[in-house]
Amino acid sequence: MLEARQLSIRFGGLRAVQDVSLTVPQGKIAALIGPNGAGKSTLFGLVSGFLKPDEGSVALLGRNITGLAPHAICRLGMARTFQIVQPFAEQSVRENIAVGAHLREPDRGRALARAEQVAQQVGLGAQLDRLASSLTISGRKRLELARALATQPRLLLLDEVLAGLNPQEVAEMIPVIRGLRDAGVTVFMIEHVMQAVMHLAEYVWVIAQGELIAQGLPEQVTSDARVIEAYLGHGTAQRLALEQRSTAHA
């Protein structure tokens, strides 16, 4: 689905992303984890057209998209959300999502109708006429997701879509994301909420200081010593291992 080859970018003297290559498999949920400042959002920016790589290339469904503008990449089937949610604040939830729907639907009435459908899909059906600025953080995260979804993407980049949600809200979002995969959308997510990564991700990459340090199945990656040192910490690693064992026995 998405192929990044030897991507690199520097900001001044800082090598934010260095020689990163990965392939996101079609139809699966994949995760990108790593410490803060490791280059995760930078990588998303490179892949979605908001940043131009100094070196390397990006291909979507076999087509070279390196250097294309974000809106062009969106048209080709890749949509993204932002780590810090950016709703169209003074517009309603319906109008927000309709902007996404309009990518494929020129008619206003049909775009608004499609917006309503997508809102139901992510659980915002009851809030359609509310102003985006009046939503709680959980609602805004769903709105980010809904907007991107309305563009009918083949690949969806989710940037920390679960940050700021309490455990119950996370539990509610997990089936929504799984539902996207089941509907045929490939999902590539940046996440710190490890419970979600373990439950959702079918493949994980770990990036630290701009470089990939590990990749593989969630269980493999979370027991990798380098990953534990750089990112998970021993407490979390132990907790995850315990959960693994209990679900394995269950």
Binding site: S48, F50, A69, P70, H71, C74, R75, A79, R80, T81, F82, Q86, P87, F88, A89, E90, Q91, R94, E95, A98, V99, G100, H102, L103, E105, P106, D107, R108, G109, A111, L112, A113, E116, Q117, L128, R147, A148, A150, T151
Partner: protein, 324 residues
Amino acid sequence: MERAHEARGRVAGMRQLALIAAFAVAVALLPLFVSSGFLLNLVIMTLYAALLGQAWNILGGFGGQFSFGHAVFFGTGAYAMAVLQTKFGLNAWLALPAALALGAAVGVLVGALSFRYGLKGSYFALVTLAFAEVFRILANNFQFTGAGVGIQIPLRDSAAEMQFASKAGFLYAMLALVTASLLVAWWLKRSRYGAWLQAVRDNEDSAAALGVNVFRVKLGAIAISGALMAAGGAFYLQYFRYIDPHIAYGPAISVEALLAAIVGGMGTVFGPLLGAAVLHVLGEATRGMLEHVPGVNLIVYGVLLVVIIMFLPRGIMGLFGKRA
């Protein structure tokens, strides 16, 4: 549920169209009941301010790009009309589309340069101001535009030359332009392009991530805005029959445009019209009461602008709750 919302949307849209039609009809009937030159002039100047405001509103209110130099389009329209008539002998009605096209072209020029380099907010505002100044200086220095003396078009008093013998004629012309501008705003509220434009206003990055070609959308807005503003300039020339660099490209016009839009309500269909009406009525009323104080209407405009921004940031339309 889907049907209900769609139906509600259509009804609201029809209601606004009906309102626009009612307004147009009401003003069109005015000359039948009012013969006072003073009152007719007041209505004409209010409509004129409404047109300027709506032109600014397209780019500023709907597009979120605040311009301090909208005079650059106004003056282009006025000078185009003047030069085409006096130097090329073109009929005013034929010169009008050229003036509009030129206004749009200048819009594309200013927009392409500004937006290409990512100018936003205060930077964009100052650059538009600079453009207006540059054009003013150019107009002031070329004989082609009459240099400092400006251009005066001869009195024709004939509808065929777009100079109407009675004020009513000018009223209808102005009304047509204002109605057209209201329809443009109405269209922005319920079209895909309008949704894209308002998305760009509210958050450019999000809009880009949703497939909106931000550069092209902004360029479209400034072209439409430029054309409407140029129409205002063309009308000014036909009504007053004289234009000079200061009138055409000076800051007064730029301020007048944004004033009506901000006071009335940015990003709304009727905002600039309401703003123009309130400003002019208040201006005339205070001028009547305080005749001996020169420029009192300007003081009123200033105070009103401050009061609106402090207490009614959504403008007068904000009093009506919903964003119309």
